[in-house]
Symmetry: C2
Subunit: 453 residues, 2 copies
């Protein structure tokens, strides 16, 4: 039900759009586009084939273009930036928040980057440089500098008068003011709701919340996301190692981290990237995917070589060739279940030294039990099909061996890859199927050669 409704909604927006794209006036299209949020335009651009995308992009208002460029995936951003004039690019950076600008500026051609830096006042440039000094995937790279700070000896009344003078200039997603001393050291935070509900004569220093320590600028973005999720934060202060307040992180940027992190595992396991354009030119997609196919060819050749070792055995009993894919595929499937489970648990930070052993033991038990179950079934089918009890026993034994192998490989490969600094989601699947193919063929054909032929 949910699926259908969602599809219908998306369809209708895409369809409305397609309709207007095909038969409507430019004015209609522009009106439609300008009623959307930047992220919605980005979502639409990602759904459009290339030539339509370029056409629609021309119609997006210049003041929205910066935000839209930030929301589309890397592939499309690069493509759109290539099409834009220098003056358009400089215009697109105006009005961006500092954290967004920091992400964006690194994708710009050098000449444009210089122009953008020149067009900024020294305070903004200083802020931008501070954000740029931290890697993109840390708290520092994620932060914005639009904090509102107050002093502990101010009263609520003073703060309220200050805010009222600012006339609505409170940045979006501001749920806390930050309390700092004269040297800008972070002391605590004051929820906006306290300003609304507490006595105006109270001192900030007596009211402020000091439970939250502030996030160190070099904390990995994934840990920041976990903290926001677990503590249900809307915003949080970022500090340096001297406890100086650098900026704040807001939940909208954290959601992007959560989304990308979760999609990364899915896409990596198929050798894809979450930043690729669905409608990239066929040649580019071919090139990108061929790397993965090449890696898999090497493992397939290895498996073929193992089969080749038993060519004479197969010639004598062709049933072996008929049945051998079953052994390999059952091991591969069982192993990939364990692999997926472990990759997800690692992404959630739920596997460490203290429980890895227990998990491996459990997965081995599951492998053994499922091995026994399916060995029995497959042996039965084999005996009925080929009227050969020995062959049935051998394939059953090979299935047990390969399911245990799959479980062991699925549980240990991602842990080892991570130790080696590789992406467990990216490499894991190829290594796993290589192992289950080779062990599957070796166990089945090897036992057949020894006992049967």
């Amino acid at each position: 039900m949910l699926e259908t409704t969602q599809e219908e909604q998306t369809l209708s927006r895409l369809q409305q759009f397609s309709k207007v794209l095909q038969s409507g006036t430019l004015q209609q299209l522009q009106l439609m586009l300008n009623g959307l949020f930047a992220a919605e335009i980005a979502h639409l651009l990602e759904s459009l084939p290339r030539e339509k995308r370029e056409f629609v992009w021309e119609l997006v208002e210049p003041e929205l273009q910066g935000d839209v460029l930030l929301d589309v995936n890397d592939d499309i951003r690069e493509h759109l930036i290539q099409q834009m004039e220098t003056s358009e690019l400089v215009a697109a950076t105006e009005g961006l928040e500092v954290d967004d600008l920091a992400d964006f500026i690194q994708d710009l051609p050098d000449t444009v980057m210089q122009l953008v830096l020149q067009s900024m006042d020294s305070q903004d440039r200083h802020r931008l440089e501070r954000v740029l000094s931290y890697p993109e995937d840390t708290a520092g790279g994620l932060m914005n500098t639009d904090t509102i700070t107050v002093r502990p000896n101010n009263t609520i009344d003073v703060v309220l008068r200050y805010l009222r003078r600012s006339r609505g200039n409170i940045p979006a997603m501001t749920d806390q003011l930050y309390v700092v001393d004269r040297e800008n050291h972070y002391l605590g935070q004051l929820p906006l709701t306290d300003l609304l509900t507490r006595e105006p004569s109270l001192r900030i220093g007596d009211l402020m919340n000091t439970d939250h320590q502030g996030i160190l600028a070099d904390m990995p973005d994934r840990d920041v996301a976990t903290m926001f999720e677990h503590r249900e934060l809307v915003s949080a202060p970022v500090i340096d190692e001297n406890n100086e307040l650098l900026g704040r992180i807001t939940i909208d940027d954290v959601i992007d981290v959560i989304r990308e992190d979760a999609e990364h595992s899915l896409m990596s396991m198929a050798g894809l990237s979450e930043e690729d354009d669905m409608f990239a030119p066929a040649l580019r997609s071919t090139r990108r995917r061929s790397v993965w196919l090449g890696a898999n060819l090497i493992t397939a050749l290895l498996a073929s070589w193992v089969i080749g070792l038993f060519g004479a055995t197969i010639e004598k009993l062709v049933a072996l060739a008929i049945l051998m894919p079953i052994v390999a595929s059952m091991g591969g499937i069982a192993g990939s279940q364990t692999l997926t489970l472990v990759i997800r648990a690692m992404a959630l930070g739920q596997i460490g030294i203290s429980n890895a052993g227990r998990l491996i033991a459990k997965e081995l038990t599951v492998g053994l039990l499922n091995g026994l179950v399916w060995a029995f079934v497959i042996a039965g089918v084999t005996i009925l099909w080929f009227d050969n009890v020995q062959l049935g026993i051998i394939i059953g034994a090979a299935v047990i061996v390969n399911l245990i192998t799959g479980a062991l490989a699925g549980a240990t490969i991602p842990l080892l890859l991570k130790k080696l600094g590789a992406d467990p989601a990216l490499g894991g699947g190829v290594v796993l199927t290589t192992i289950t193919d080779v062990v599957g063929f070796l166990a089945f054909l090897g036992m057949a050669a020894l006992f049967l032929v």
Copy 2:
């Protein structure tokens, strides 16, 4: 880098915990636990093997247990609830927000549910029943009823005095007040920041923001999540079809939807569920996974049957048996890349009638191009290995056929499954590999039988 740091942090928390679990005092452990947020305790419980988990659970303070139970996955929740006394369960429900209680109460034994309902006052019971009347995966099931409402003819000053009298009782994640008429019809919203920055004498009705329409209670939760993401919301009002205000949705609940949605695709593709306990008893995991293995056995048997049709051909030329897994696996890998791409795009709502045709055409082109590239390589390897040009040409042709088949199947299967109301991520992989195995073996062995042997 990121990976290691995150692992280290998790490790150290898990390790600290393990240490204290093994050698520390109960008091130390309890102190440690009570310093954590509910979601952090849930995360830890999910990482612990069963017997340790039960032990730690006993130490969690009763007033935290309700929130922790809501944060652990379904499997573990069920397990913990089974271990609790009725009185403990009733105590755990106290202090839960209405939306959380609605999720929770459905997992309770009937007798406990009755007790909980009896212990509520009629207003709370009425609110709970309203939330329960909507499916869990809709805006209505996601909403909480803790809205603060104001009338359009009030002035800011009146609202401020009202809030000050409430003395800090503003619910978490409140960034807006909702403006309603006497019949509780939703009129607009008023940001807290407006209360802080605008003239106290201004009327709410003149200030309120009427851009946002309110979310209909039957909107699917996935669409709610997309809206929050695209519009950068912290909270949003939920209305019924008569525009009556029912409650509000907050970003913390939306993040859960985003996280679960993204993980669902990953886990489903391996036949797993994101709600399963990593440390479930081996027998239960075996049973759950055997369904998936059984489905795959049927497809493997189908592939074996196809091979069996060509038994005589293989007997004459054993190289066919050696090479045939290559054809099948290359098609399977290429197809699974397309499948993953399409499943993700569907989850994001980026595929509809207007662009599905274009995407299929693009994937077919990529399949053809990669087919040509790898046909050439595999044919070359085959000719060198077996010194048989005809065999090389035949395997090359089979690879092209199977890569195009994989692309076509990968692009169309999830769309068809969705049309049929099935979960595209769950069924897609099995159907795909069945097709690429059968077509791969059929093309390769069939052409060999026709032209070679």
